[in-house]
Symmetry: C2
């Protein structure tokens, strides 16, 4: 049986040192910590990770971003221009399984920590270097914030409305990059178990956005037609979108097949449309999107949200609420499934979601949000003790 | 050295059977195939994966989505209501390392393949069951298309403009779920190397969106203030957005710190603003977003895009182009870094991006897009041969 309690979390015994800031590396290492890895977050002593100071939403001390991304980690405040602190970092790397950096391009090299040298010195080390645009092109050294890479990667051109572009509210360039850091580290750990060797991994945010744009890239490459953003809709499917209801709410309805469309015509009391050739296939409905939306919208405007969702469920039509963030906080599906836990901060426990994907048998770690440099002294002492041990044993 | 050529891809020897459709499971298994896994995509004989038929953009045969998500896989067309075909599937599972399903809720159970029974029968098997909303709440059986889960998860409420909500053009609920399937399978493979045991993994799309909403959840939980979507901007940072240029283009500019703002005031010839207390901190600029955007917009309207980007680079200000999908197809940073490759289809080779994250030493597989059921006969023969071998050896 695989679903009994495991003796340990899958990444117990794995140590990750992360020179990290903002979102991409921190989300990746938070997930590594969720699975039991020890994560040492190296921060500048003068302020640390800039997301600590985006706001003071959480207990007047931490930002909303920082609490989201950093529970379960240790914070080592090191001034890497100070030779003593750099020695501490080098000592940490020598004892680590994984080194991650999303510092500015070239920052590791300027510290004398080029990824090739690190790999040469530590055969089992897994090194991950995150950049905005990678190396070898005209944009190598360009600043790469989430908005900038979403925009450079074409993602904003398919979001919002025609003439009123938008970025995805979820910072998809950042979180997508985090997911590739996280997954590729896991692949490298697996590979290391089988080969005994570490890995050098370079990840560029632009490549991540480009991967997620694959459907749109193929459309343009093969048809020459740019997708037009349609707000809550999809340029490739109709009807699929948001409709005002009789009680001043918004219903979200979607069909992804012709049979679902025929069921929808029953639901909205327009069985005549099911037989109408002009709407029989998705591609035809996309061409007549305005007409189709008007028919669906007309029916929704005469029914309450509760009526619409119940009818859609009964007829097998995709439907959802148009939720605010507060609705998500209070979402009954998250509450019923016990998705919330508490994590610690220096000023008290705060709610946090459980990680979205773990095996049943894996224990989940719920560690605390570290104050800046909270673990620096302990880490210095640990390295000093290790050095002494090493001298005593003569190794 | 870790960066010499590896003897093999990290997932060589790993077999994945996937009962998959649409985006979430297919993107996950495509990435597993990128790393060398053998992926057997099980499809219905009557049409297969519905994304095959979204359009005929690629050579009149395949859809843009399908080519994006399915190269490097084998297709087995099996009618799982036919006992003989179900026996084939059971034989495949018995020889597999990983079984993934994103069929409708309850579909596996109805086939007699409940995940607990599978785990009990195959101690080393990693089983992943993807659903929209998980089990145990009011939404268990609800249809879950990307738009629906984005909306239910509050993501649309922070995208677009106030009063004109939008979904992210990138299907973030689907691709985010894919990334958790992919990463959790890798974690389970690593865990299996150390424990000898497989894993049972359940992933809900709503939990994925909720994870990515972490910053917004914390803001609402701790301050009670809903974020307002601001198009190309960010509700938490200013200035950060898109500005029309003198030559009819759009410049995207972003600042993420007060020092970057002060550099921006130099760039736009408004050094007076650097000394103005009313704009000195990000939180103050967010309150005066309209004023700040007007000042930046005024300067951008008097300069060409090329002038603006050059000035921003020279002054250390985050900047980007507002690119279309076609711009991304032709992006010089992708071309210069050799990010494109060719993959096969039954009607000829087509361009595809290399995977965004691999170690330098790993070979990348570039397999073909399978026709529906292209590998069914070979897989039947392989299982039949294995059964014969098993009889001969008496095991």
């Amino acid at each position: 049986m695989s679903d009994g309690p495991s003796r340990r979390a899958p990444l117990e015994g794995v140590t990750v040192v992360s020179l990290e800031q903002a979102i991409s590396a921190p989300l990746a290492t938070r997930h590594l910590a969720d699975l039991g890895a020890r994560v040492i977050k190296v921060e500048r002593p003068d302020g640390g990770d800039s997301t600590r100071h985006y706001d003071t939403a959480v207990n007047g001390e931490f930002s909303a971003h920082f609490v989201w991304l950093n529970h379960g980690k240790e914070s080592a405040a090191l001034n890497l221009r100070d030779p003593d602190d750099l020695t501490i970092l080098i000592g940490l790397i020598g004892r680590a399984d994984v080194l991650i950096s999303n510092l500015a391009p070239g920052a590791l090299e300027r510290l004398g920590l080029g990824i090739d040298d690190l790999a040469a010195a530590h055969e089992r080390l897994i090194v991950v270097d995150v950049s905005g645009y990678g190396k070898g092109g005209p944009l190598d050294d360009k600043r790469a914030y989430d908005l900038l890479v979403q925009s450079e990667g074409g993602a904003c051109s398919i979001t919002g409305e025609a003439g009123a572009p938008a970025k995805a509210g979820i910072p998809i360039a950042d979180v997508g990059t985090a997911m590739y850091v996280y997954s590729t580290v896991l692949a490298a750990l697996y590979d290391r178990e089988r080969t005994g060797r570490g890995a050098v991994i370079e990840i560029a945010m632009l490549d991540v956005v480009a991967e997620y744009m694959g459907f749109a890239l193929n459309q343009v490459i093969h048809t020459g037609t740019e997708p037009t953003p349609v707000g809550m809709g999809s340029p490739m499917i109709a009807p699929y979108g948001a409709y005002p209801t009789a009680d001043g709410q918004t219903a979200v309805l979607g069909t992804t097949s012709d049979s679902e469309w025929r069921r929808l015509t029953t639901m909205i009391d327009r069985p005549d449309l099911a037989a109408d050739e002009r709407y029989s296939r998705n591609s035809l409905r996309v061409e007549r999107r305005a007409e189709v939306d008007a028919v669906v919208g007309h029916w929704c405007a005469a029914h309450t949200l509760a009526q619409i969702l119940a009818a859609a469920d009964a007829n097998g039509i995709g439907n959802a609420r148009y939720n605010t963030v507060d609705d998500l906080v209070k979402h009954p599906q998250l509450a019923a499934r016990d998705r919330w836990r508490e994590v610690g901060t220096p000023t008290g426990d705060v709610p946090a979601l459980r990680p979205p994907a773990v095996a049943r048998s894996w224990p989940i770690r719920s560690g605390s949000v570290p104050g800046l440099g909270e673990h620096t002294d302990a880490i210095r002492a640990e390295l000093s003790s290790a050095a002494t041990q090493s001298e005593i044993s003569g190794s």
